[in-house]
């Protein structure tokens, strides 16, 4: 299991198109990829699920990845968050 947190730094948050980029990235992997925002969580492989989180600029999300390819999945998802959402890695992760 891999866990990490990011603060989104992109003016319109994770709206439709950017959610698609994230889902496309996540769907390549076998691992389960769950995004948490406060009390809510989403399956990173479902566009409707990710859009439903309604992540806005400046908000923090926690990502949990578990499965046989969790290392490469984590690397890829972190890259998407950094490059596409200019997200900044947060120090603490969800307990």
């Amino acid at each position: 299991m891999r866990r990490f947190s990011y603060t989104i730094n992109s003016e319109n948050g994770i709206h439709a198109r950017p959610a698609g980029v994230l889902v496309k990235a996540g769907s390549q992997f076998k691992s389960d990829i769950i995004l948490y925002k406060g009390e809510k969580h989403a399956n990173a492989k479902s566009l409707f699920s990710v859009m439903g989180l309604g992540v806005k600029d400046g908000e923090r999300i926690d990502i949990e990845i578990s499965g046989e390819d969790e290392d490469s999945a984590s690397e890829n998802i972190e890259e998407v968050l950094q490059n596409y959402f200019r997200a900044v890695k947060a120090e603490e992760t969800l307990a």
């Binding site: 709206h15 198109r17 479902s46 409707f48």
Partner: protein
């Protein structure tokens, strides 16, 4: 061997807006034209009223009111994204008649869009209507040409 007993059903998605239906590959936005978000068609609308394309539930109304996710009663997820880059308008020019979780019937009013305002501000009116969980359907068919909102079939599929 009992495959013939399985009930296969044919479903249809109608156009949410009046206008011309074009292939998704012709949309001026890579995320849509490369089918990154799903597969479907786009409407180039001639009027601003947006109607429900299927019977289902409103899964997602964006805060900016420019995009609507509808989950059909059979579990197919349909995204209607009005115009390109219209997230930037932050709701300006959009009026929504629905809220998250609300049940809708095909042809119910979803939103009203000021397409003159979008044009004036230089936004493309191309409105992708796509199935985001396209892997869950069989034999999808896309129907191009002129469409009447709430009536003309633009996507058909089996499930």
């Amino acid at each position: 061997m009992f495959d013939f007993l399985k009930i296969k059903k044919h479903f249809e998605v109608v156009s949410p807006m009046d206008g011309e239906i074009i292939p998704i590959s012709e949309v001026e936005d890579d995320a849509f034209s490369q089918k990154m978000l799903g597969d479907g068609v786009a409407v180039v609308p001639t009027s601003g009223l947006v109607l429900a394309p299927v019977d289902g539930k409103v899964a997602q109304v964006f805060d900016t009111l420019h995009a609507y996710g509808i989950c059909s009663d059979n579990g197919v997820e349909i995204l209607i994204h009005v115009g390109i880059n219209t997230v930037e308008l932050k709701g300006n020019g959009f009026k929504s008649f629905v809220s998250n979780g609300q049940k809708v019937k095909k042809g119910d009013k979803i939103a009203q869009v000021d397409i003159d305002l979008l044009k004036e501000k230089g936004y493309s009116l191309q409105t992708p209507v796509i199935i985001t969980n396209i892997d869950s359907v069989k034999n999808p068919g896309y129907h191009l040409g002129n469409a009447k909102s709430g009536q003309t079939v633009i996507i058909s599929y089996d499930k």
